[in-house]
Amino acid sequence: MTQRSRPRLNIGAVRSTFAPWADPAARPLVRFENVVKRFGGETAVAGVSLDIYEGEFFALLGPSGCGKTTLMRLLAGFEDPDEGRVTLAGEDLAGRPPHRRPVNMMFQSYALFPHLSVEKNIAFGLRQLGLAKDEVAARAAEMLALVRLDGLARRKPHQLSGGQRQRVALARAIAPRPRMLLLDEPLAALDRKLREETQFELMALQQSLGMTFLIVTHDQEEAMVTADRIAVMREGQIVQIGRPAEVYEAPNSRYVADFIGDVNLFEGKVERADGQSVRLASDEAQGGFEAVEDDVIAVGATAWLAVRPEKIQVHLDAPPPGPNRLAGKVADIGYLGDWTTYLVELPNGRTLRAARANAARFVERPVDWDDQIWLTFAPDAGVVLTQ
């Protein structure tokens, strides 16, 4: 889990100056310390340490069964850690039942109470706080307005659309004003268009409430769009934590590079590494590979170069010889409207991906199936990976 620092490069979109994790004086709101959780013989969480800061939108990303939901349930209080501890605002949560934890959860199935109206669902948590009747009503009304469900207060959950249900679940979870909101795959049940809209709504909501959000998802796009930081999980462990752009542009392992987005991996032997760039020898590219890399890697070691499809240029005419240059044949073309993805077969049979934005409506010489083409990329397009 090494955090790579790349002072010479600015990576991706830098959202804001909000970066409490970089401030050594900042105290985290939630801290997982070497947490282990087993179910029977299976280890769901295998030693996770993680800090989440006040006001952060944090995403746990990983394939199903990687332990991300268990991690969230440990925080909500539905599970207890077998080892290690979970603290909230410096306080150990061990033995504290869910109803006495100032965190609320939005369930994947929404878990709306079918026998209660929308309004009563939202007021449920407020009533448990022991607030006065008119205060409960006022805050429930405020929540209804916040999620734009004003007219539907008296409806029952089964009379709502999927998107409306999702908003009721959200309103119900934030109504008691928890220190932290936990969202378990909150958008998984929505269709694509609605999901995209809702991602932006969630971000706006989190900003305006100033609440700390923890989202669990297997959808990398969801995590990339919404989160300030992402923790990529694999088999109960966190493999990388970083801003979305860091995780995408500077993955620390082949697993992360492959899990987040598409990637082409080139294996090679290190020929030269001088703290500024690395040269890899490979059978696939005559000129070898060259990449900007400030870590010094032992000469002769095996390393991988990870290059995203959109950072690869497609040429119909042979470019001048040099590093990062490969010849191939177009095996397949995926036209997505905004992008076109080319599957390019190398002479050794391996297939690479190159993507091109369709910036112009008309092209003089379009790339066609079975065309002989060349692929190139810049030295700073790829990331050198050693694990």
Binding site: F78, P97, M105, F113, P114, F124, Q128
Partner: protein, 262 residues
Amino acid sequence: MRRGLTAFNRVSLLFGFGFLYLPIFLLVVYSFNASQLVTVWGGFSTRWYASLFRNEQLLDAVWVTFRVGLISATVATILGTFAAVALVRAGRFKGRTLFSGLVYAPLVMPEVVLGLSLLLLFVAFGLPRGFWTVVIGHATVTLCYATVVIQARLAAFDRQLEEAARDLGCPPFKAFFLVTLPNIAPAVAAAWMLAFTLSLDDLVIASFTSGPGATTLPMRIYSQVRLGVNPEINAVSTLLIGLVATGVIAAYLMQLRRRQDA
């Protein structure tokens, strides 16, 4: 393809329903018989209904039966709910298989055996037989029916609803009452109805466990029939049928409305 009933279907329906309901139909018809003789039709009359309401022994028995039914059904439903929760929720606790087996056993055990064993128990404990021993006996027998009905509903209930309630600040017991119970309410009501109906028409258990001053209606009818069938019995049976039918139809309609809601 013809989708109506074939002649064969019609005949089998006729025989089936005839077999089931002809005796009951006859009983209802004869309850309006003017004649003193049960099997001879002597014109329409409601005189047996009138005399029924003057027969204090019979009315007493009705009152006892109702109280036994109300109390035993309520006890059985409450205990049955807890048993169902334990069976569905507690997962694989030690002795779960044994426990569920024990809950279901009375369903298949001969009533005579149950009645006798209850009697032996009450004698051993020195409990005077009477109203309360009948209640205990009925609660015991109907408990397993109630458990089965509630368990089926509870197994289909989304556990995350309870978790959501706890997450929103409800202690577990309160979460059960605020969220789980309202959602399994139709099954609980159905279980109560079933227990009540079973208690209402039970003769065997009541005969074994009853004592002086606690004669239930089925016991009263049975002892009167032994002395000769009286048209009053027809009348009281007709009322009983009407009551049970109303209960069953009400329970069905309740379930139906729920389903349309959901």
